[in-house]
């Protein structure tokens, strides 16, 4: 079998429904490059393999193992787990990094259970010390920092999207086809894909470097457009509190917080959001937080680097025009 570096870190690449490299890959490969040699695994339709391997190499994969298959369109989880098990057997990595997405967690869970490997979930960073790979976590809504490690053997780590700033340097393309014996494990069947998640020109919430979120304070779905206007002025993704989602201002896939998406952007702007703990849990690892709320006692101000007590409908339009002014 081919030789792999002794410090290999196996990275499972996520792909979009169109077969492109997902945004999460850059952070995973960046994290892997800091603790070892990134060896990527792609599970992809045969016609898309070459292009994906090129993207992965450009994003820092030293080697790209490719399992060419169409089975992921019909079966949940299992094709990826089978591929990961086959890849881990030949690469013998020190750690396996997987995106902490819905699909990523399923794959990581099954793979860890199948290989009896310890698993560390929702890591916001990884490092290496004398004894091996350490995963760093931010738990209880960011109130505690916790490190975890394997007693021995490889650690399976799911990495929070957008949490890793490190980026790996581009490498020459080294594509290798991977033989994957089918495990025969029973999988759920994908009967149909109802809708591909909206693709707008705005960045995706997960992994966004800037997020503008709106809450109940916006008052209506029509007025929620103000949040979108500021997001567009900043090139930011649009988020929302649960209250705004429940009130029907915006679809649930924009919900930030404990039961929605957790984000760790460079900038988080909270508009008309009171900042219940459930919301703060999903955003307080943001590097910079700006809040506008008319209630001076709103808990969001406890975590804001810059807070304005005032009416979003006067403050935000002024902010948007000030930003436009600067661009001119």
């Amino acid at each position: 079998m081919t030789d792999y570096p002794a410090d290999s870190i196996l990275v499972l690449l996520e792909t979009t429904p169109n077969g492109e490299l997902a945004t999460s890959a850059a952070g995973l490969l960046g994290a892997a490059s800091r603790i070892g040699t990134p060896v990527a695994l792609a599970v992809i339709a045969p016609s898309q393999a070459q292009a994906l391997a090129e993207q992965a190499a450009a994003t820092g994969a030293e080697r790209v193992l490719v399992f060419e298959t169409n089975s992921t369109q019909a079966e949940l989880t299992i094709p990826h787990v089978d591929a990961l098990a086959a890849a881990a057997a030949v690469v013998v990595p020190h750690a396996v990094l997987i995106s902490n997405s819905i699909d990523g967690r399923d794959i990581a869970g099954r793979f860890a259970a199948r290989t009896s490997a310890p698993i560390a979930v929702d890591a916001i960073g990884v490092s290496r010390d004398d004894e091996g790979i350490v995963a760093h976590h931010s738990v209880y809504g960011g109130a505690y920092n916790v490190d975890s490690a394997a007693t021995f053997g490889p650690l399976v780590v799911t990495v929070r999207q957008g949490a890793i700033d490190a980026r790996a340097e581009a490498r020459p393309v080294a594509l290798e086809s991977l033989e994957v014996p089918a495990s025969g494990a029973a999988s759920a069947a994908i009967e149909s894909v109802e809708a591909v998640t909206e693709t707008s020109s705005r960045p995706e919430l997960r992994g966004a470097t800037r997020v503008v979120s709106g809450g109940r304070g916006l008052g209506s779905a029509e007025k929620f457009a103000l949040v979108e206007d500021l997001a567009d002025a900043l090139g930011a993704a649009v988020g929302a509190s649960r209250a705004a989602v429940d009130a029907g201002y915006i679809p649930a896939n924009h919900q930030v917080g404990q039961t929605g998406v957790s984000v760790s952007p460079q900038l988080y702007i909270a508009l008309g959001i009171s900042g219940a703990i459930q919301h703060r849990t999903g955003m307080q690892t943001a590097k910079n937080i700006v809040a506008v709320n008319k209630d001076p006692d709103a808990p969001i101000f406890e975590v804001a680097d810059f807070g304005v007590v005032g009416d979003v409908f006067t403050v935000v339009p002024q902010l948007i025009s000030a930003l436009a002014e600067r661009k001119r």
Partner: protein
């Protein structure tokens, strides 16, 4: 049709949650313990099915501290037929692997056609246990379902995954996890609470399940460090005096954020 619903006691997120900095374990005295809301919704899916299917039997199962018995009993009061509580001091610091292995043994022991869990607990937010269980139980996993239809030999639903919304189905037995898009749970009524006292409540130790919690030949994940993060210092808070928007713009520009 035997449906096992995994439930979890969690610290109430409306209060302050603490970790013990000595042991790294949840400080149970620091906050009120409640049945996780997502567990209640998972139970509601099972109970709604049982309402219209006489052959359905709903079991609530939890691996939790001894003190969690009262919380698990709430599942009986809501309508589950029996409860299984796995509790053992040796399991107090169980990692995800040990948790999944222990639950899998208990689930096999109880017998099941369908296992229903929440997609993410409120405290650990791990979200990997359903898939781990499916692997260990050698059955399909269908996770993150925002709607669920249970039929005689299969389960299907809508899955809101990362890139797309899809319809999925699995033959039974299977493990599914549900999201908070599913309906709120029913409240236990007085009759349910009284009836719960007479329902079977099984308590199992690790030894009962043939689990050795401290088996050093099995690789586990251990906590190597824990620190309380200094509370995020509140920064500048100003009251808008007509220049609030401009001041934010200045803050963003100063910090190279715009």
């Amino acid at each position: 049709m035997k449906i096992i619903v995994l439930v979890k006691e969690v610290p109430d997120t409306y209060g302050e949650r603490k970790l013990d900095l000595e042991t790294g374990l949840a400080d149970r005295a620091a906050s009120e313990a409640v049945l996780d809301e997502i567990s209640e919704r998972a139970l509601e899916v099972a109970l709604a099915y049982a309402d219209s299917h006489d052959d359905a039997e709903v079991v609530v199962m939890s691996m939790a501290a001894e003190s969690a018995a009262a919380t698990i009993r709430k599942g009986l009061a809501m309508g589950a037929a029996s409860a299984v509580h796995i509790t053992d001091p040796g399991l107090a610091a169980a990692d995800l692997g040990l948790t999944a292995r222990t639950l899998a043994v208990a689930i096999r022991r109880t017998g099941f056609d369908l296992v229903i869990t929440g997609n993410l607990s409120t405290d650990g937010s791990g979200g990997v246990v359903p898939a781990m269980l499916a692997e260990l139980l050698e059955v399909p996993n269908a996770t993150a379902l925002s709607s669920v239809e249970i039929a005689a030999g299969s389960v299907s639903g809508t899955r809101n995954a990362d890139g797309a919304t899809m319809r999925v189905s699995a033959r039974l037995p299977a493990v599914i996890s549900i999201t908070e898009a599913l309906p709120d749970a029913r409240f236990p009524n007085f009759k349910g609470i009284m009836a719960a006292k007479k329902k079977p409540f099984e308590t199992l130790s690790a030894a009962d399940l043939g689990i050795e919690p401290h088996d050093l030949s099995v690789a586990v994940s251990i906590m190597t460090a824990i620190a309380e993060k200094p509370p995020r210092a509140a920064g500048v808070k100003i009251t808008d005096e007509g220049d609030g928007g401009t001041r934010i713009a200045e803050f963003l520009i100063e910090n190279r954020l715009a």
